[in-house]
């Protein structure tokens, strides 16, 4: 999976593209680190270019949620489609994240 990060005023934007699986866990850890250190209130994960997500990746997103809460940041997920959206629906992610 390819990860691009963009820090602008007040928001930390992370764009994920390709397939998000267990193998991405080291890269994702960097995102978690930067997320907790960034001096922003809002964090957004952009998923429009994400094609596939497995259960390990769902676990990673939940870790991100915990981290955000620990550092009083708002975490939102946007643009989920196809298989990714299906997984989010079945896992009831709409009850855990702000989705748009």
């Amino acid at each position: 999976m390819a990860i691009t990060k963009h820090l602008k005023k007040g928001t930390y934007d992370v764009t994920l593209s390709g397939n998000f699986t267990f193998d991405d866990h080291t890269d994702f850890r960097d995102v978690l680190q930067q997320m907790s250190e960034a001096d922003v209130r809002h964090v957004v994960f952009h998923m429009n270019k994400l094609e596939f997500i497995d259960s390990a990746a769902l676990g990673m997103l939940l870790l991100a949620r915990d981290e955000a809460q620990k550092h009083q940041k708002n975490l939102a997920i946007s643009g989920a489609t196809g298989q990714v959206k299906k997984m989010f629906d079945m896992a009831r992610f709409d009850t855990l994240f702000a989705m748009n």
Partner: protein, 365 residues
């Protein structure tokens, strides 16, 4: 009576003709009287047949109504059974069941996600642990180098101490101490390296197991929830459709039962039929009595105008009346009554009348 009036009014040569007319009139009354006698025998039989048949029908219909009613109750009970499911010890409605089912599936999914999250968290922790263990291994190497240096230093110090002689004795003791300390440190360092190696092995073994857990994709299990819920909905819809059909069936059975009850009530008309028949028979008996009175009076008045047995007048009257009887069976009975009363002979001639009459048969069944 007829003859007396005629005698007073007509001349002598018409007396024979008047006698003949009177004879014909009497023959008609004999034929009519016999017909009425026969009717008085037929009607009660017919009435009894109707009574028996309707009683039989009543009994059968009662049974039918009972069966239809029982069926309705059975189906109704089925409907209430299908609408619920037994869970542990209580009955649960289908709606409630779906709710519980969905909640259980949601629970499973939530737990799976939790396992995923914790597994990932552990992966991160263990990666840190392994990194630190590597650092410790590096320290061990460093300690080895340092102790090697220290030993060399101590050795050199001992040589210098020996060169210094008496003055260097204290120095030599210190150098020896340093050397034994160094040896101790080396031993400890080796011990630590061995243990670190063991820990490293356990951690890396555990780490590969954890990686297997973390990489097990539970997406298909999570997806199963959707499939199961759809299945459940399908089953419930089917049950509800079945229940609807069965309720309709129970209602139909109940309606049948009610209709039959109505029919049973309607059948009791046969009571009235019996009454009317009894009345009719009474009237007929009375008519027969009247006819016989008239005939007796005429016989007394006219000894030679009473039509004898098998006379042409009687045949004529009988044939006229018999032509109005449609059923051959009843016509036969009529002839028998006439033969028994002596109006017709039980002989070839009497039978010939029966034959003529029977040729005009119009059988109804």
């Amino acid at each position: 009576m007829t003859e007396n009036v005629l005698r007073l009014m007509t001349p002598e040569k018409d007396v024979a003709e008047n006698n003949h007319n009177a004879s014909e009139a009497m023959a008609v009354m004999i034929a009519g009287s016999a017909a009425l006698k026969m009717l008085s025998m037929l009607l009660p039989t017919a009435a009894k047949d109707v009574e028996n048949a309707s009683q039989d029908l009543t009994t059968r219909f009662k049974k039918l109504a009972e069966n239809a009613g029982a069926q309705s109750n059975t189906v109704q009970a089925l409907v209430s059974t299908i609408g619920t499911i037994t869970l542990d010890d209580r009955r649960v409605s289908l709606d409630e069941f779906i709710g519980l089912f969905g909640k259980t599936l949601d629970d499973s999914v939530t737990k799976m996600l939790l396992v995923s999250k914790k597994a990932l968290s552990m992966v991160y922790s263990m990666e840190d642990a392994i990194k630190n263990l590597h650092e410790i291994e590096k320290f061990s190497k460093k300690i080895q180098e340092i102790t090697k240096q220290t030993n060399l230093l101590a050795f050199n110090a001992l040589i210098e101490a020996a060169r210094a002689g008496e003055k260097g004795k204290g120095f030599g003791v210190v150098a020896n101490e340093v050397k034994s300390l160094s040896t101790e440190i080396t031993a400890l360092s080796n011990d630590m390296r061995v243990r670190t190696g063991i820990i490293m092995k356990s951690v890396t073994d555990g780490f590969s197991v954890l990686k297997e857990v973390a990489t097990t994709d539970m997406a298909s299990n999570i997806a199963a929830k959707d499939t199961l819920e759809a299945l459940m909905q399908g089953l419930v819809q089917q049950s509800e459709a079945s229940m609807k059909v069965m309720s309709g069936s129970a209602a139909s059975s109940r309606e049948i039962s009610n209709t039959i009850q109505g029919m049973i009530v309607g059948l009791q008309f046969q009571d009235r039929n019996t009454q009317i028949t009894e009345n009719a028979v009474g009237i007929i008996h009375h008519c027969v009595g009247v006819f016989e009175d008239i005939l007796k009076k005429e016989e007394c008045l006219m000894e030679n105008s009473a039509p004898p047995c098998d006379s042409p007048e009687i045949h004529k009257a009988v044939e006229a009346l018999a032509s109005s009887i449609k059923l051959g069976e009843i016509r036969q009975k009529y002839i028998e009554v006439l033969q028994n009363s002596g109006a017709l002979a039980k002989s070839a001639i009497g039978d010939a009348v029966a034959q003529t009459v029977n040729q005009q048969d119009i059988e109804l069944f």
